[in-house]
C-alpha cells in the first residue's frame, strides 16, 4: 500500500521539505529577493555533504571527524583549475573526484585499520594535514584563500549563476536521497549496517568488512567532493577555512540531528541546523554560543534525531500497548 506508506510521518515530512526546497526559487522570484537562492542553496550543498557523511557515519557506524577534507578538495579542484583560467565544469568535477577518490582511498586504507577513538583521531589528523597543506600553499592564496574567477561551465550551464546552481544542487540532492534509500537495503548497505552492529559476525559470514567499509568511505568522500564543487561555485571563493575541523563537526551534528542512518535524516538535519544558525545570526552576534549550547544539549538528551522523533509519532495499528520509557536513567 504505497499511498498509506507515503502518509507516514517520516516520508511525509521529508517530501514536504523537498517540496518546500523546490518552491524556494519561485518564492525568491516572486519576492524579488535572489539572495534567498544562495542562502538556501547553501542548505542544499550541506545536505549533500551530510548525506555523504551519513553513508559512513550512519550506515557504517564510523565516526569520521574529517569529512571537511573532502569538501575542501572539491572546492580547491575548482579553485586551482580556475587559477589557470580553466572553466570546464567536467574538468573541475574530474579534478575534485579524482583527488577525493585518491586521498579517500589512501586515508581510508590507513584509518579503517583502527576503530573507535583511533578512527576519530586519525580522520581528524588527516583533515588537519589537508588544512595545513592549503594554508601553506601560497601559490593558491595560502591563509587568505583566493577568489574563483572561472566558475564551472557544463556546456551552456554555468554554475556561477545562482539559479542554475540551485537547481543542479536540488536535482543532485533528490537523486542522492533516492540512491541512498536504495543503498540502505541493498546487499552493500546491509553489509555496512551489519558491520556497524557487529563487525565480527559479518566477517564470520565470509564478508570482507574492511573492503566494504573502504568502498563506502571512498564513495562518501567523492560525494563530499561534489558538494565541495557546488560550494566553490556558490561562494566563488576558496579558503582553507572550508577544511577547518569545525566544519567536520558541524556535518556530524547535521547527520545526528536529523537521524543517523536514516534516508531523510541528513537532509532534515542540514536544513534545520543551518536555519537555526541563520535565525540565531539574525538575533544576536553571539549566535555561536546558542548553537554550541544547543549541540551539547542535543547530545545529552539523546538519540534518534528528528527522524526518530517523527517515527515515534506513527500511530500503532495494534491493540494499545503501555508506553515504555526507553533507556531512561533511574
Amino acid at each position: 500500500m504505497p499511498i498509506s506508506r507515503l502518509l507516514q510521518p517520516v516520508p511525509l515530512v521529508g517530501g514536504l521539505v523537498f517540496l518546500g526546497l523546490a518552491l524556494v526559487p519561485v518564492i525568491a522570484g516572486l519576492l524579488g529577493e535572489p539572495y534567498y537562492l544562495s542562502l538556501v542553496g547553501r542548505f542544499l550543498v550541506y545536505a549533500i555533504a551530510a548525506s555523504a557523511l551519513n553513508l559512513i557515519l550512519g550506515y557504517g557506524g564510523l565516526v569520521s571527524l574529517g569529512h571537511a577534507l573532502f569538501m575542501g578538495l572539491g572546492v580547491y579542484g575548482v579553485a586551482i583549475a580556475s587559477h589557470y583560467g580553466l572553466d570546464s565544469g567536467l574538468l573541475h568535477l574530474a579534478l575534485g573526484l579524482a583527488a577525493c577518490a585518491l586521498i579517500g582511498l589512501l586515508t581510508g586504507a590507513v584509518s579503517l585499520r583502527t576503530t573507535g577513538i583511533g578512527f576519530i583521531m586519525i580522520t581528524l589528523a588527516f583533515s588537519q594535514m589537508g588544512y595545513y597543506l592549503f594554508v601553506s600553499l601560497r601559490a593558491y592564496g595560502g591563509d587568505d584563500g583566493m577568489p574563483i574567477v572561472y566558475t564551472s561551465r557544463f556546456g551552456g550551464l554555468d554554475l556561477g549563476n545562482p539559479a542554475s546552481l540551485y537547481w543542479v544542487a536540488f536535482v543532485l540532492l533528490v537523486a542522492l536521497t533516492c540512491w541512498s534509500a536504495r543503498l540502505r537495503t541493498s546487499p552493500f548497505g546491509m553489509v555496512l549496517r551489519g558491520a556497524a552492529r557487529n563487525a565480527q559476525r559479518v566477517e564470520a559470514l565470509g564478508l570482507p568488512v574492511f573492503r566494504y567499509r573502504l568502498v563506502g568511505y571512498v564513495l562518501s568522500a567523492m560525494i563530499c567532493g561534489v558538494a565541495g564543487l557546488l560550494l566553490a561555485n556558490l561562494s566563488a571563493y576558496a579558503s582553507p577555512s572550508t577544511l577547518v575541523w569545525n566544519v567536520s563537526g558541524e556535518l556530524i551534528v547535521m547527520v545526528v540531528l536529523g537521524g543517523m542512518g536514516t534516508v531523510f535524516g541528513p537532509v532534515l538535519g542540514a536544513v534545520l541546523f543551518l536555519s537555526l544558525e541563520e535565525l540565531l545570526k539574525a538575533y544576536t552576534d553571539h549566535w555561536m554560543a546558542g548553537l554550541g549550547l544547543a549541540i551539547t544539549l542535543m547530545a545529552l538528551l539523546g538519540h534518534g534525531g528528528l527522524v526518530g522523533l517523527l517515527s515515534r509519532l506513527r500511530p500503532r495499528p495494534a491493540a494499545p500497548v503501555p508506553v515504555q520509557m526507553e533507556g531512561g536513567q533511574p
Binding site: 583511533g118 583521531m121 563537526g249 555561536m288 544539549l297
Partner: protein
C-alpha cells in the same frame, strides 16, 4: 649554527612541556573512562584569559597562575558533574558532539567577555631578562616554563607511582571495571582526575599567555596537537604523554625551521620554500598516522599486568 640548533631545541622543549601539561590530564580521562574530551582546549583558553586578566589588574604573577589553576579546577569539576559524567556510558559520537558544542560555547562566551581582539599581557618583570645556558642566552621566561613543565612531570610521576591515588589511577587505566568491582568509586576518581587535568590545562594556558596572543579559539589547534601527542604516546599513559609531548614539541619546532633549509639542498629554492612549511606543519600528523597504522596502541602504552 650550533647556537641556532640549541635555541630551537630549547624552544621545542618548551613547546613539548606545554603539550605535556595539556596531555597529562586528558590521557588519563581518555584511558580510564574511554572519554573523548574536545573541550580540553577550551579550558586552556579559559586559563590563559583568567591569568592574563588577574595579572593585568593586580600585577602579581603567582596570584594570576593560582587564579587560573583554581578557576579551571572548579570549572572542570562543574563540567564533569553536570554534563560529562552523564556521557561516559554513551558512545564516542555523543562525546564528540557534546564537547564540540562546548567548544563553540566557550569560544563565544570568551569573545563576549574579552572581545574578539587578542587580549594582551606581559612577561613579569622578574622573568623578563635572559639566562645563559649551554653558551647561549635564552629568555628567562621560556626557561621558567620548561622548569614548571618538568616539575609537573616529576610531581605527576610521584603521584602516579608513589601514592595510593596513583595506584588506583594506574589500575583504572588498565581495567576500570575490575577496579570498580573492588569497591573503588571510579566515578569520583575520574571526576578528580578530570578536575586535575582541567587545572593543568589552565596552568598551561596561564604560563603561555604572555608569549602568545590570548584570543578566542586559541585552544582549538593546541587541542588537536594534544590529541596527536596522546595517540602517539599511547592512550592512558602519562609516561607516554611525556615522551610523546617532547617528541612532538621538538619535531614540530625543528621541522618548521630546518625542513625548508634541508629541502633547499635537494630542490630548487622556489619549490623548497613552497613545500617546506607545508611539510613541516603536516609532519606531526604524518607521524601520528604512521604510529596509528603500525602501532595502534601508541609508542609507550600504559603497562598491562
Amino acid at each position: 649554527m650550533t647556537n641556532l640548533v640549541i635555541a630551537q631545541l630549547l624552544n621545542g622543549l618548551q613547546y613539548g612541556v606545554l603539550l605535556f601539561l595539556l596531555a597529562a590530564g586528558l590521557t588519563l580521562v581518555f584511558g580510564i573512562m574511554n572519554f573523548i574530551n574536545l573541550a580540553h582546549g577550551a579550558l586552556y583558553m579559559v586559563g590563559a584569559y583568567l591569568a592574563a586578566t588577574v595579572y593585568n589588574h593586580t600585577g602579581h604573577f603567582l596570584l594570576a597562575l593560582l587564579a587560573a589553576v583554581a578557576g579551571c579546577v572548579v570549572l572542570g569539576a562543574a563540567l564533569e558533574r553536570l554534563t560529562i559524567a552523564r556521557l561516559y556510558r554513551r558512545d564516542h559520537l555523543d562525546h564528540v558532539l557534546a564537547t564540540f558544542g562546548m567548544v563553540l560555547l566557550f569560544n563565544e562566551v570568551a569573545r563576549m567577555i574579552w572581545g574578539s581582539q587578542p587580549y594582551f599581557t606581559s612577561v613579569p618583570e622578574s622573568l623578563s631578562g635572559t639566562v645563559d645556558i649551554l653558551g647561549i642566552s635564552y629568555p628567562a621566561y621560556r626557561f621558567a616554563i620548561i622548569l614548571i613543565g618538568l616539575a609537573v612531570a616529576v610531581a605527576s610521576y610521584w603521584l602516579i607511582h608513589r601514592t595510593r591515588l596513583g595506584m588506583l589511577i594506574r589500575a583504572g587505566s588498565v581495567n576500570p571495571a575490575m577496579v570498580s568491582a573492588l569497591g573503588v568509586n571510579i566515578g569520583l576518581l575520574n571526576a578528580l582526575l578530570f578536575a586535575l587535568g582541567a587545572g593543568l590545562a589552565g596552568l598551561a594556558g596561564a604560563v603561555v599567555g604572555p608569549i602568545v596572543s590570548v584570543q578566542s579559539g586559541m585552544g582549538d589547534s593546541v587541542l588537536i596537537t594534544t590529541l596527536v601527542v596522546i595517540v602517539i604516546g599511547g592512550i592512558g599513559s602519562v609516561r607516554g604523554a611525556f615522551y610523546a609531548a617532547l617528541i612532538v614539541g621538538v619535531a614540530d619546532t625543528l621541522g618548521r625551521i630546518f625542513l625548508p633549509l634541508l629541502l633547499r639542498e635537494v630542490l630548487s629554492r622556489q619549490v623548497a620554500d613552497a613545500a617546506g612549511p607545508a611539510l613541516a606543519s603536516m609532519f606531526v600528523y604524518l607521524l601520528m598516522a604512521v604510529v596509528l597504522a603500525f602501532r595502534p596502541q601508541g609508542l609507550f602504552p600504559a603497562k598491562v599486568g
